[in-house]
């Protein structure tokens, strides 16, 4: 149809000119024939060669899940020619590389004949040409085989590797992961606050627990439009029977299926009409054009605590960007308290307190679930705040930052400071008003909106992460939930009583009743020594937080971090060591966080000796609440009393 119109429009002036110069019928016929051939080549190519997206050659792959455009999904390659900038910024984002086929470009781990030894598993990582291989020796049950690495998960902070096999079985996880910043392999079970690291044979436990995990768990959010094996109804080839439109989180994960959009926009006149009109294109979803709640749901489809209904296995996801996520029958967004959830919620849901994802007051405590925090925030509930208020999924062309700097958090330029909040709270643009509100110097960390209203109380990726639930510091909440409050997380040497007093004087917040320890001992010391693993890991991170070290000094945290080098949880020890190295005198402090318990005790003693030596040269005073006397001696009795009170219940933070 389009070709006929194009041909008619083109042939008219040609005929007019030929008639004008009175050429013969044969010549006219030749001209029309030549013009027809010239126009046919591109027109036919467009209609038949490129009209449908090519099916990737992965249908022949059997060792892993495959990528294949299906249904109304066309894949990101179809977006590139019309949206080169958006494509490029997505391509450079960590969303794209969340799941990748293992290649020399995608694998960041060291496979140069590296040998790793666990409690019951020995591993050799090596390369053969472009293939990455893993030789595994497990003692019980006996296992000795070489597996190819077929896929990777992650690339920003760390990378996990999935192993294929020749027996068409589901993917097996490599029980080690590679940390990008540290350029180091660590056991997979050590990377989480999870009781698995307390087991006698953790590597076997990981192998067993994560066998086939990719195809039923990771696939949900680390790919675009997944089709489980049950949905594809393929013959019994468990690995490759699982299909996705695209590995990683690509264009259609946020913009919805694009087949219709691609089809109608092959017509250039439609494109120009659309561009000149300037409005949204009805054939595709742009989250930036959605109301704030629907826009946030686009992110929330993955960045929330979700219970997947069993029917998903057969029906796939029915939610599409722009729709109401709460109406999706195949997944349910969990909330932190029963009273926050609708009455008609599914009956078989677990209680939020069993989910290991929430503080006891319902606030989210694990990373990657920011939507839960957002929707419980007053700025979302009473205002227009959405994920896109601070984040942008495509770096703006006029953003002066390097692409990798933007990709780190995908924050809009400038929103790493107060300007994010000042979009609405513009009365605080005035320095006088800001200092009146914060009671801190305008250029100090205490006047940074984030530090008070989005403190580091969520955990994941071996670090503390800012809470995405906008809240105000509260001693009562700290007492009731055990969650560190923003004041004490920065003023680490102060007690809860000190904080309660200031909040009372500045904001007329009633003082809660406090115990003797809470009145006399620094709140961070209590959380670090007698808290649960979730609190201890946050304190291990906070003791290395630059803003806090400027406020509370950096000369007294070492004994606490030294104590945490002996923690039961691998992740706590890892983070304590990292924070310790940020303190003066500890830059070169060596410690194997997965070493035997005896080595940990020795490392603690070594750290205390280093600290004692550095105190002599620094000669700085100590506040009584940090359990160090005026001469720089740790109040060991008090210290050990609190350490013995620590909450050692098995703990899991469901990041």
């Amino acid at each position: 149809m389009n070709f006929s119109i194009l041909f008619s429009v083109t042939i008219a002036p040609v005929l007019a000119v030929l008639r004008l110069v009175k050429v013969g019928a044969r010549t006219t016929g030749g001209a029309i024939f030549a013009l027809g051939v010239g126009l046919s080549i591109p027109a036919l190519s467009t209609q038949f060669l490129w009209a449908d997206q090519p099916v990737y050659g992965e249908v022949a792959v059997t060792s892993r899940p495959i990528q294949r455009p299906a249904g109304d999904y066309v894949g990101s390659a179809a977006c590139r020619s019309c949206h080169p900038h958006y494509y490029a910024t997505w391509h450079d984002s960590y969303h794209r590389t969340m799941t990748q086929v293992a290649t020399a470009e995608s694998v960041i781990g060291n496979f140069n004949n590296v040998r790793l030894s666990g409690k019951d598993l020995n591993v050799r990582l090596f390369r053969q040409g472009n293939q990455f291989l893993v030789e595994m020796n497990l003692s019980n049950p006996p296992l000795n085989d070489v597996y190819p690495v077929v896929m990777t998960t992650g690339s920003h902070n760390r990378q996990v590797y999935w192993l294929g096999s020749s027996t068409d079985s589901p993917l097996m996880v490599l029980p080690y992961m590679f940390l990008r910043a540290e350029q180091k392999w660590i056991p997979r079970h050590s990377a989480y606050i999870n009781p698995m690291c307390l087991q006698e044979r953790p590597e076997s436990a990981v192998l067993k627990a994560d066998f086939g995990r990719w195809s039923y768990q990771c696939i949900k959010c680390h790919t675009t439009r997944p089709y489980l094996a049950a949905e594809t109804d393929s013959p019994a080839r468990p690995a490759s029977a699982t299909q996705v439109v695209e590995f990683g989180i690509s264009c259609e994960a946020c913009h919805g299926p694009g087949a219709e959009h691609v089809r109608v926009n092959r017509d250039p006149t439609r494109r120009y009409k659309q561009r000149l009109a300037g409005g949204p294109d009805a054939t595709i979803v742009n989250p930036a054009d959605l109301p704030h709640d629907r826009a946030s749901q686009v992110c929330g489809q993955c960045h929330s605590v979700i219970i997947h209904r069993k029917r998903w296995v057969h029906n796939g996801y029915t939610y599409r960007p722009g729709e109401d996520l709460a109406a999706d029958p195949n997944r349910f967004v969990m909330r932190g308290r029963l009273d926050l959830m609708p009455h008609n919620r599914p009956r078989d849901l677990p209680h939020p307190s069993e989910m290991n994802s929430f503080w006891s007051d319902g606030m989210i405590r694990c990373s990657g679930r920011e939507y839960n925090g957002l929707i419980d925030s007053p700025c979302f509930q009473r205002g227009e705040m959405s994920c896109l208020s601070c984040h942008q999924m495509h770096q703006s062309p006029d953003d002066p930052r390097k692409r990798q700097d933007w990709a780190d958090d995908q924050l809009k330029f400038g929103t790493d400071g107060n300007s994010a909040c000042l979009q609405c709270h513009d009365q605080l643009k005035s320095v006088d008003r800001l200092t009146l509100h914060t009671h801190h110097g305008a250029d100090s960390a205490g006047s940074n909106c984030y530090n008070c209203h989005m403190p580091y109380t969520t955990y994941g990726l071996l670090k503390a992460i800012r809470s995405h639930q906008i809240s105000s510091p509260s001693v009562t909440a700290s007492l009731e939930t055990g969650r560190p409050n923003a004041c004490n997380q920065c003023h680490q040497d102060k007690t809860l009583a000190w904080t309660a007093d200031h909040l009372s004087r500045w904001y007329e917040i009633p003082k809660p009743k406090l115990s003797g320890d809470e009145q006399q001992i620094a709140a961070t010391a209590l959380w670090a020594l007698r808290g649960d693993a979730g609190q201890r890991v946050l304190m291990a991170w906070s003791y290395g937080w630059e803003d806090a070290l400027k406020t509370a000094g950096n000369h007294w945290q070492a004994p606490y971090l030294a104590q945490l080098l002996e923690d039961r949880y691998d992740a706590v020890r890892f983070i304590a060591h990292r924070s310790l190295r940020r303190l003066p005198g500890f830059q070169d402090f060596e410690y194997d966080f997965v070493g035997p318990p005896g080595h940990r005790a020795a490392a603690r003693q070594r750290a205390l000796q280093v600290w004692a030596g550095s105190q002599k040269s620094l000669n700085r005073p100590f506040a009584r609440p940090v359990l160090i006397d005026g001469q720089g001696h740790v109040l060991e009795t008090e210290f050990q009393r609190l350490w013995k009170q620590r909450d050692d219940r098995p703990m899991e933070v469901g990041e």
Binding site: S81, Y86, Y272
Partner: protein, 160 residues
Amino acid sequence: MCARHLQFAWWSLLCWVILGITLEALHAFKIGWYLGQTSEMRRLLWTLAHAHGTLLSLVHAAFAFTYFALPTPVTRRLRLTSALLMASSVLLPGGFFLGGIFIFEGDPGLGVWLVPFGAICLFLAVFLTATDVARVKRSMPANSGERPRLTKRGKGLRLT
């Protein structure tokens, strides 16, 4: 007619050489407006403008030498062919150039709509020239070795 096309050829070539130098300078000084990731379309269009403009300048020279070698009387048809070639030399590279000034992401600016009209003009000009040359060739004696001269006698052209 030949002189007019030769003159156009060289002056237009000069213009496109200047554009070429400008584009090289934009590369040399790493001008973001031209080299930035969002300017991919602009780079493509201006490269196309430069290439089409330069080549069409040479086509004008070839056109002039063709009709110098095969002299024909200045008929209405030849004037039309000349005008079409002139128009295509303005519309084609000009359309690409204008389309590159203000770009939409993934699509050229509105100026690019001149390009198809330029392409039709070029098609007609080349087609009419080709048929002219073919007709002259048919009426030339084989291996005469002489430069043919054409006169208008009645309808059509005759070799004398």
